[in-house]
Amino acid sequence: MAAITVTEQPQDGPLIERRSIFSTLLGNRKFVWGAAVFLAIWLTAIIGSQFVEPAMRRTGAYPPKLSPSFDSPALWVGTTTLGQSVAVQWTQAVPNSMLVGLIAAAIGTSVGAIIGLLGGYYGGRVDAVLRVIVDIFLSIPSLLFLILIASLLKGVSVVEMALVIGAFAWAWPARAVRSQTLSLKERPFVRVAKLSGMGNLEIILRELLPHLLAWLGANFLNAFIAAILAESALSIIGLGPAREMTLGMMIYWALNFGAMIQNMWWWWITPVITLIVLFLSLFLVHLGLDEVGNPRLRTEQGG
């Protein structure tokens, strides 16, 4: 095996680079810990939800207001006023919240990248029009608009919620990508590509986009957690997907039923801690990516 690797290496440059980035990432403690915690939460929820039967989700499935006990996994984090298991709710809430993050971040990042690349690369009228639209969206206080839209749509589903949040998540990436594109397109390799007869679209996709991937990946992580937090904010004020469970809706129902004042701490603390841990784990992943992508930030252990 070693011999084969050795013979391959000189022939395939990018492969070495990719491999080394991957191994560097795996050697980066922050990245590993962050990713491990994130995956652990996700997998626990997914595996847990496999054991949940529809009847277990219903109101009155368990005695109401039980504090956490080890009698059964469903009672590990207690029950609600309506006799639902907080653990069962959690197994629904985590994938739903992550779905919101995924959809919103995907929309925000991809739309932002397309608009930024087009505006930055073509310049002129295209850029002028796109820039105005981006500036308008940037100057709108997005949470206010989200509240407005969510209250108009009253009774949204998880996916609709994600689409609404995604609709406001593209403006920042668009501006950032545009400014990077403006600088990239003046670089010699773009001119070489132009002189060698490459089309505009080809240049954007094959020459510019690869340079932006690292930044877009980082933005995706930001947008992911920002969308989860935006969903929580909207849900907590009562504009969330009422018949489905998300981390925000768990907090909303807990507040609605006076869990804080009635000392049913297990009800609201479960989603709050999950949100904090999700946030910290993605923060670590982000730090790890940053160190790998920017050698100056590497620490002894990380490098």
Partner: protein
């Protein structure tokens, strides 16, 4: 580095967001009245149009102080003691065939601007409603009253459209407070100047009541005592609080904290759950309710039922409605959504002792048509009807402004889904829900059935209120569910023509009516109404409780006026009740 700043800022925002959850309540005392002199009531909703105080122009806005302390009524019915207290009036009498009612008014009553209150004001109000049928209340008033005459300033003679011995109990056509409120008499000298009584905002309302409006905002209305109140001279008594506030503070948690810290005197019905009440009452001994143990709640006379759209082809078969009813476990609703503060209901009548002879008389009908949880019966009924519950999809319209509705809907929807039905929960605010409900655009919706009198609650199902889908029903529980049965309506007409105290005639009629109503089950009874109204006795005393049941604990009913003020006993003439300062 920019990226890192984003994370730090976001983390900060999260921390601050969590910190902001701890609700802060700013003290709102103004210079003219201290906290000790203020009676503060928490209300359950924000006011969408706080400067429009026209009770006759859409959107129910009476119960944020207007019908409690600004306007007053001819009589106040005290369900707790059975007294029918004369207030703006002194007495009433029917003629022999119950086609006319004569009311004798109290001498010396004035509006808050000093003008005298006379029978001309009553004549004017009914004439106004007749000329403007689009005004709220106009329908019912015009249906019941042919004309009102004022032979002298202190006498009003009501000529009825049809003889009725129950007219003085009709809260929508007569100015006697029954349950919740009554028809409001308007000051002629103010309103006759208005060309369009529907567009008139009445932002500075003139009533005969002991308080006048001080300020209005989305977060509530504030009233100050009128020192020229007619009651001071005529009755020799004025209410003790200098100021009365009806304030919206926020959700249950915020209201509970305000009550716990003595910033509130009353939290109105439907805000605090039993669990939260137990918690704050355990920490603060000044906080009490109707009873000191479960159910804590006073029984409101308006039972809760699930309205079922009878005009929906999927639901027009009574067997299907009975089947759905049999899927609902009312004990679970009481235990979970109400935390034990009420009891299941088998009909739309309150479980008051006075109604026991009537309920005993229909026990045989309930034997044959049970209204309780029985999944086997549900399955048998679905089969008999030839309907697969899996083919039925029901739109359950839920009012998000009502915590009670939201809680009950979670339990009921789960029970129906467990029974094999498909349920789509549609959540919306009360403003969006109103037109949908009136037009019949729902399959299921939770509703309180008022006024809670036996005959009047049967009348809600009368076919005279039936309109086809798409047209507006008179009100939610007034047949927005589109039940239409002429035979039943004829029996109700007979009951309406019987004097309310003639039990011997009424009980057989009730049995006849129920022998149609119960097999048909036009709506699905759920639970009796709980009114958990926490009171904080730090600054005020005398609020009614089960052990001192001189009145009903109703901050949202017009009767609140007489709770604050008290009233002269109809028998002895001695002053009864009233809220007084703890210090005195």
């Amino acid at each position: 580095m920019k990226q890192r700043r984003f994370w730090v800022v976001t983390l900060l925002a999260v921390v601050m967001g969590i910190a902001a959850m701890a609700p802060a309540l700013a003290a709102q005392d103004s210079a003219d009245a201290t906290r000790e002199e203020t009676f503060r009531v928490a209300i359950g909703r924000q006011l969408s149009d706080p400067t429009n105080l026209n009770l006759y122009a859409g959107a129910s806005r009476s119960d944020t102080g207007l019908h409690q302390v600004v306007y007053e009524y001819l009589f106040y019915n005290n369900l707790q003691t059975g007294e029918f207290t004369p207030w703006l009036a002194e007495s009433y009498e029917y003629n022999d065939d119950y086609s006319q009612l004569t009311v004798h008014l109290r001498d010396g009553v004035t509006w808050s601007d000093g003008e005298a209150f006379t029978s001309e004001d009553i004549v004017f109000t009914y004439d106004l409603l007749r000329a403007n049928p689009a005004m709220e209340w106009a329908n019912e008033a015009n249906n019941a009253v042919a004309s009102v005459e004022a032979p002298d300033p202190l006498t009003a003679v009501y000529t009825l459209t049809a003889p009725s011995p129950r007219f003085h109990l009709n809260r929508e056509a007569f100015s006697a407070v029954q349950i919740w409120g009554g028809l409001t008499i308007l000051p002629k000298h103010i309103w006759e100047a208005e060309a369009d009584p529907l567009a008139f905002k009445n932002s500075n309302p003139v009533g005969t009541g002991p308080y006048v409006l001080d300020s209005a905002s989305q977060n509530g209305l504030v009233y100050v005592r009128n020192d020229n109140y007619w009651g001071a001279t005529v009755l020799g008594h004025t209410p003790a609080p200098k100021k009365v506030e009806f304030v919206y503070l926020g959700d249950e948690q915020t209201v509970a904290l305000a009550l716990a810290s003595n910033e509130l005197d009353i939290a109105t019905i439907g805000i605090l759950s039993a669990g939260t009440f137990q918690q704050i009452a355990g920490d603060n001994p000044a906080i009490t309710a109707w009873t000191n143990e479960l159910p804590y709640a006073w029984a409101d006379p308006c039972p809760r039922a699930l309205m079922v759209q009878n005009a929906n082809p999927q639901l027009e078969n009574p067997l299907v409605r009975h089947a759905i009813s049999s899927l609902i476990d009312r004990d679970a609703i009481v235990a979970l959504a109400y935390e034990g503060t009420t009891i299941p209901a088998q009909g739309v009548w309150p479980s008051y002792d006075a109604l026991t002879p009537y309920m005993d008389a229909v026990a045989d009908l309930y034997e044959a048509n049970p209204v309780n949880y029985d999944p086997d019966r549900a399955a048998a009924l679905f089969e008999e009807a030839g309907v697969d519950p899996g083919d039925i999809t029901l739109r359950y319209t839920v009012n998000t402004d009502s915590v009670e509705d939201v809680k009950v809907s979670q339990v009921v929807a789960d029970q129906l889904i467990a029974g094999g039905l498909n349920v789509e929960v549609q959540q919306m605010g009360s403003a969006a829900r109103e037109p949908m409900l009136l037009a019949g655009d729902y399959d299921l919706s939770f509703q309180a059935f008022c006024p809670g009198y036996l005959t009047e609650n049967l009348e809600l199902f009368h076919s005279k209120f039936y309109v086809p889908l798409g047209e507006n029903a008179p009100w939610y529980e007034r047949n927005s569910f589109r039940y239409n049965n002429e035979e039943f309506s004829a029996i109700v007409d007979q009951m309406l023509a019987t004097p309310p105290d003639d039990q011997e005639a009424l009980i057989p009629l009730f049995h006849d009516a129920m022998s149609i109503w119960l097999p048909d089950l036009p709506v699905i009874p759920l639970v009796q109404a709980p009114a958990l109204v926490p009171f904080n006795g730090t600054y005020w005393q005398g609020w009614p409780t089960a052990s001192d049941a001189w009145n009903m604990p109703v901050s949202w009913w017009a009767n609140f006026n007489l709770i604050l003020n008290g009233y002269p006993s109809t028998e002895s003439g001695e002053w009864v009740g009233g809220v007084t300062p703890v210090g005195s």
